[in-house]
Subunit: 231 residues, 6 copies
């Protein structure tokens, strides 16, 4: 047993959780922690408003309270309950929005966010200002599609390319971040289509969680156990 | 073979490279990439000035050019040659300063940096402004010890606790970042002593590199190969 | 009937609501709207954590849904549910933290916040960055007293004067804001003691609510009805 | 007698003062302070340059010196003499630009300003930076009409709708502020036409002044006099 | 005749003008423009308030209107009338505060300002925010001496060294700017005493004015006239 | 002999150096310092990448070490080696990018930069953030021409006018800065064509260098020698 990262989809749509799990398969290694994706049964089908965001905090914290893990990832681009969850457990809790934006800072100078709904943009702007990352922001543009409509791959992809190009050409973005947990399966294709790096925020958050888990579990191991191979 | 992360110590002191390698052992897993630490022979014994920083860029880029890896980490808190290296290779290149600061943003609101030399602080301030992270900065204070003096563990540790407490009590920091690649072995003890999270920047950068390598190598594998264990 | 401002104390301590109501009596005028203060029964005795903040959002929105008013004021310095409430009603909703800080901007260049608990400060810093007001921030210092301890007037006042002077002398504040809904009764005395303007955030929010209600109700009235006295 | 707010139109055009007075009628209540609007006889017909702004400071301060009031509002979007006036009297002095922008912060994330003249925009940008509100700024666009041309309602309104839509669609504004004291009569219609909240800065400033006057006069009254109706 | 820079002391104290002229003698060269220092007769003995600042704008603009020059320097650290003067003439107008701060940016990372009066600090903070230079600001501390007291060299100097050291040691400044036009004669001694570069703002502004005049006069000369010595 | 300013073109193209020398002729006066322009033989033909920037630092510092001067100007818009050079000599070293941007702050509110290559823009954005000048930035747009193509005056000029107008009309710039050391000969024509001030960064840097040299040499002269003509 090598530890466990619990990735919580705070909406109740199992297909999103399944897509997440698939998008995170790269981070599952023989010696590394399990990466388990769970659906928050109490969540709405999609998190589309601030009220949805705030509404999942209590069940999400309850879930964290009853599910043991070495690290938790909140897999919704609004980072619902991020700071409340950090009070709930002394294990690391990562939000995919914060990790997506921070990771994008290593890939470009100005970040463009592809959101699903226009109504989410003010919420995203508050988050970017809250993080103190305003100077790295190029723009945030919406697909204008609901979470459930994301199943039509071709339609979604064509729209993402359009929006991505606007962020690059009109807003000056040189790196894009997907503003949703459910678009990871299009990341590589989008990257190729627009010619700029694209960050999937759930992958970014699981990366950070993975680092914390490896580090913490190493500290608990007998010293030097894994160090024999050091370069 | 599972890929390779090359961690480059751009100063020529092998003991620093050895310490780095030890500090990164947690990130070596059976199924994960090798994490190899190398010393830049052309570097100075310690990078203590802007001229040192700029002076290692060419040999560092040359080293990247001749050493194949899936990702590179520049393991000096001044991130020497970070953007030049990114022009040199199409593989990911991470700087420990940028990754240390970005990771600290997930652990607290205001970052305190423990530097070795006071003369490095203006360089660090430029870097923080360059990253657009000024609003997250609490302060940067120096140990006032040379890189070579870092061998005296007790003296270094006592001074780090002092400086860490000043950053917390006087400057308002709630998370600390080590402003050097050679202090990782004291991270956990310092964290306990000051009661605030402490980020080792090399560990932060290797975490980000690890995520990229896992993601990129997965994209090259036959689909689903590693996905059987998905939660 | 001249309209109604509903001031919601999201903690369940009736004494705080009563104190609020008293602190807002100045804003009750014969021709103006009623200013009714209510206690959120579902709230905790005091809002002392992010989890408390997020936990009151649903009952608070429910209360707004069932209580008719011309404007709502959320009377907790963490502005719980502010943006969710704005989605819940098309009437104005004001947060006392945002209004306290914005009003302070008309009274000085750099704002010092007197908080009750040190653990609230990171939450306040996130709020100030979220509002984009970082350049106006001098500091945030805590009394180190629990909400329930606020009953001991002399002890609280002495500590507020100490903290206020530190904000002015050490952090450069030239205007103070009370970081709690329950300290208004000390505002004037504190102002006199420290020699700088002090903003009570609930008074600031009710002021803004009052303006909106007067304006909106006027728009619904027959034109000119109240205009006879115009200068 | 319930106190007096003196609203000073620092240009010499009485029609602007009359329009102001009409736009502020909502704030006149039976029990509240008088809101008297006066014209600064020494002002230019319109304040259209920095030199105009600076030129009215002395007569404006003189007027404040000879006219007793409980609060003063400087009703020009350049806030002429705001800080000089604050040195002149110990009564509150509010500027309509500062209050308009601060109030807009409670209605949206990014502010668009509708100015009359393009030559005023650099002055407005300086003011927004001076207030530390740059991160809340979406854009500032001009009608391209002179102050005296504002009489042609239809022409002005059509142009305001155009400019408002540009601020929203091109610059990302989600709240608009009128960059002049003379456009209040179009506020509600504009709000409806563009589908975003519109702030009249004079109304915003009188709101803040009203709150201060009520609070200050209450402090001078026998305690509890108005508190009998508290909720 | 090689052009003329007119340096205007907007206070009426001739001794300040004489000191200015002396402090600027280095910039007078045989082939360069005359640097004439004049006293604004209409100014107050010292500019010590915002009202003083605004009060000199009209006579200052009038003086610029009647005195022909190739460039104007407004030699008061509050930059009175800077933007009004730029509307008055199409010749360059430089403010000593703006030029002092901008020049300091080439000498250090964080600027400390030595002011004469504590009451000037809020005005200076507004100016720094207005310039968008907040991230370069370390602090602003006052001597606590009136303009007329500046004659006692020893007292002034001892106090400047104290304040300068506080700016460096407590606020993190690595370059100092003199917040007054009358302290230039102590610049070099202060620089030596505190061990950090010290900028006299009038010298900084005359430098910029000199560059503009040389460039503009060259454009009017027959081409190549002065180019014979080009390296 | 009146001192010497050494202007270093860090690319190896002598024609650029010659153009520089011509563009700086205005600053050569009979009594002032020599302004000598030299070519860095070790530099690339044009500095077009971060690697080029970092690659010239060592030979540039070596050149500074062997060439005596009273001040040095690094005449490439990427300011290569600026901070390393400042460690190399105790004489002033100015970068043309920093001086161009700082000087532009005296000529407008928002700066537009005309770059040669699109690939330089991320580098320029890092520099602007590093300087803390983000709030003054309107945009940075590229000509899309290589350094060597700059010889075709008409083509370059037509493109500069296009790009300059975009910066003004689309990005809101009211002052332009040339993002290269080799475009000075078009500055005045561009200024006239676009109707906004245009700053040549090399002229801006030599201006600042000139001020420093005059001041420093004066300090070494017998007191009063040049002061006889003081106004």
């Amino acid at each position: 047993m090598n530890g466990r990262i619990l990735v919580i989809n705070p909406n109740s749509t199992q297909a999103v959780t399944d897509g997440l799990s698939d998008a995170l398969s790269a981070f599952r290694t023989p010696g590394g922690p399990a990466i388990d994706c769970v659906t928050l049964a109490e969540g709405p089908p999609g998190i589309e408003s601030q009220r949805h965001v705030d509404g999942v905090v209590q069940p999400l914290c309850a879930l964290i309270g009853r599910e043991t893990a070495d690290a938790y990832v909140i897999a919704c681009y609004s980072d619902p309950g991020l700071h409340a969850a950090r009070e709930t457990t002394d294990r690391p809790v990562l939000g995919i929005s914060e990790c997506g934006l921070l990771t994008a800072c290593t890939l470009g100078e100005r970040i463009g966010v592809i959101s699903i709904l226009a109504t989410s943009i003010p919420r995203h702007l508050r988050a970017i200002r809250q993080m103190g990352l305003w100077e790295r922001m190029a723009g945030d543009r919406a697909l204008g599609l609901g979470v459930v409509e994301l199943a039509d791959r071709d339609r979604v992809f064509a729209r993402m390319v359009d929006v991505g190009r606007q962020l690059i050409d009109l807003d000056g973005a040189d790196v894009l971040t997907l503003g949703c947990a459910g678009m990871a399966y299009l990341r590589e294709d989008l990257q190729e289509a627009v010619g700029a790096p694209v960050v999937d925020p759930a992958q970014a958050a699981v990366t950070m969680a993975l680092g914390r888990v490896l580090l913490d579990r190493s500290a608990q191991s007998p010293p030097g156990a894994l160090r024999a191979t050091a370069g």
